[in-house]
Symmetry: C2
Subunit: 326 residues, 2 copies
């Protein structure tokens, strides 16, 4: 492999664009979902998946793995402001998996369907060398939010608190030292939740110009927006909301909590940009949902992703999860 | 693995049914696609995929493999009487694949998109131990044809001629003896075509009660219809249309051509059932499309799949492609 994920996507996108046959599917810029307008509504389509070697963390049950396979699609739709209707599952099984394990995987999928009120419509079954589950989810939105609407002057806002998944990955994959309360850290790895209600409500605020979930981590998500919008993102290190347990875990393991928050990946919080004229509405929404929404920076003219620290303004390293990274 | 594909699907289907949240998605019986009614039209969703070890035949180029990944979805939609609008691709790549090979895979996908006039809307990229490509396709139909409308008395009709893929699989996987003209046999394996125009036209004939493509082979497809409809299928061995090259190949390799036609798998012809009152319309359609449509039998009350030969009526063995078969 001599290209990484970002390079491959860029290449594929070039090929795709040459094949545009003119259907009214949106958006026409790079995104992880697309929509067909049907009357006043939009049907939003997204796909995502898991492969065992990459995504089945140590200690993760098959039921959690089933949940994990679909939650990333729920989170993608949430970031678009779309409510999921149904999912189709491509289940690629190995010859060694047992009937009990298959049932567990499906139970995890159904747990997720019940939690977020969508249907499992069916799917396809195949055989592969490891358990690969690809999900295709259909949602509905009154106004999908894409990645491409960012304007200079917009506020950069983030939901919840970051760092728990970064801590979990460090603990599970690098054998880090436990802290007394690992509950939220384990939960972030095994049963992550999607910000569905937030996403749907954001789509009702016209001043929300773009959104993305943090499944690839904060730094990479910022760079994705930077590339699509050709603008400059400046965030403030002091303002990034980091979960208490993540800070505690970082201290116990001599890690920088900011690094966990910036490059953790598999976070399902939503990052969005919003016109400053709508700041009040965002504050109201935060109160109504009982969910922390933090302004972490601002969009400017120019290019690049920068972070303000005591040492001044420095470019953010593009971290987070990149498949096939050299 | 102690369950085969059919048993797993049956189990999963039981789980799914318990999670029906009441959206108006159809059908409610087992099928390989589903639809949402949008005004007068139906959006039809299907998914299918390929895994390298199972589906990349000896001598198959990456470009053909890309084609193969999407053609099965086109064929599924064709059997539903739906025209494809767009596809989303879950591409699970290995670390050893080259940029050139990825381009070839995508070129095959685009070949198929251009041939059948649909868009590639985007997708998801992941990493796995072999190249697994899962596709999710969205199509549109005025009247989707499902598997579940079969009535006793219906004629069983098949498009085209069978046996070429069976011959191709035998040649490529078992090292059979070549015949002088292998062109159509190779084509059936490497660049199979879907009967899209036929499927769309069948949906305009209200007397067409059910349809299925033969991607799992004739015998298994008949059993799929038998299970969903709880009826009896009787076919006539003499009437099954077998391609000349398949007969020639079978003779050269001491095989029974009927076996190739019944159990070949990966055929993309369409099997449909139709009220005898519409036989004339089927004959007209056959002439108009320049495509052989052959009545191979009839649906009766009762259960089972039977074949009439010189020796009388015998149950058909359920062959064809079953993943994870013991």
């Amino acid at each position: 492999m001599n290209l990484n994920e970002i390079e491959i996507i860029k290449e594929i996108w070039t090929l795709i664009k040459s094949n545009d046959l003119g259907y009214s599917v949106i958006p026409k810029t790079f995104d992880d979902a697309c929509a067909l307008q049907i009357g006043e509504k939009f049907l939003v389509f997204t796909n995502d998946g898991v492969a065992e070697a990459t995504d089945k963390l140590p200690g993760m049950s098959w039921r959690d793995y089933g949940w994990r396979a679909v939650i990333s699609c729920v989170s993608d739709l949430a970031a678009k402001g779309a409510r999921p209707l149904g999912v189709m599952i491509s289940l690629n099984l190995t010859r060694t998996i047992s009937a009990k394990e298959i049932r567990e995987i499906y139970q995890g999928i159904i747990d997720c369907a019940e939690t977020y009120s969508f249907d499992v419509w069916g799917g396809d079954l195949g055989e592969s060398k490891e358990i690969v589950i690809d999900c295709f989810m259909v949602g509905v939105s009154n106004r999908p939010i894409w990645r491409n609407g960012v304007k200079p002057g917009d506020l950069i806002v983030i939901s919840g608190e970051l760092g728990l998944t970064g801590a979990a990955f460090h603990f599970l994959l690098k054998g880090g030292k436990e802290i007394s309360n690992m509950g939220n850290i384990h939960k972030a790895a095994y049963r992550p939740e999607a910000r569905l209600e937030l996403g749907v409500r954001l789509s009702e605020i016209p001043g929300v110009t773009a959104a993305i979930d943090l499944s690839d981590g904060l730094s990479r998500s910022l760079y994705e927006l930077e590339r699509v919008n050709e603008t400059r993102f400046v965030i403030d290190a002091d303002k990034i909301p980091i979960a208490e347990e993540a800070i505690e875990y970082a201290e116990a393991n001599s890690l920088d909590p900011l690094e966990l928050a910036l490059h953790g990946g598999e976070e399902y919080e939503i990052l969005f940009t919003v016109s400053p004229s709508c700041e009040e509405q965002v504050i109201d929404l935060s109160k109504e949902l009982g969910l922390k929404l933090t302004v972490i920076g601002m969009v400017e003219r120019g290019r690049g992703v920068y972070i303000k620290t005591e040492g001044g303004l420095t470019p953010v390293k593009e971290g987070g999860w990149i498949h096939l990274r050299r």
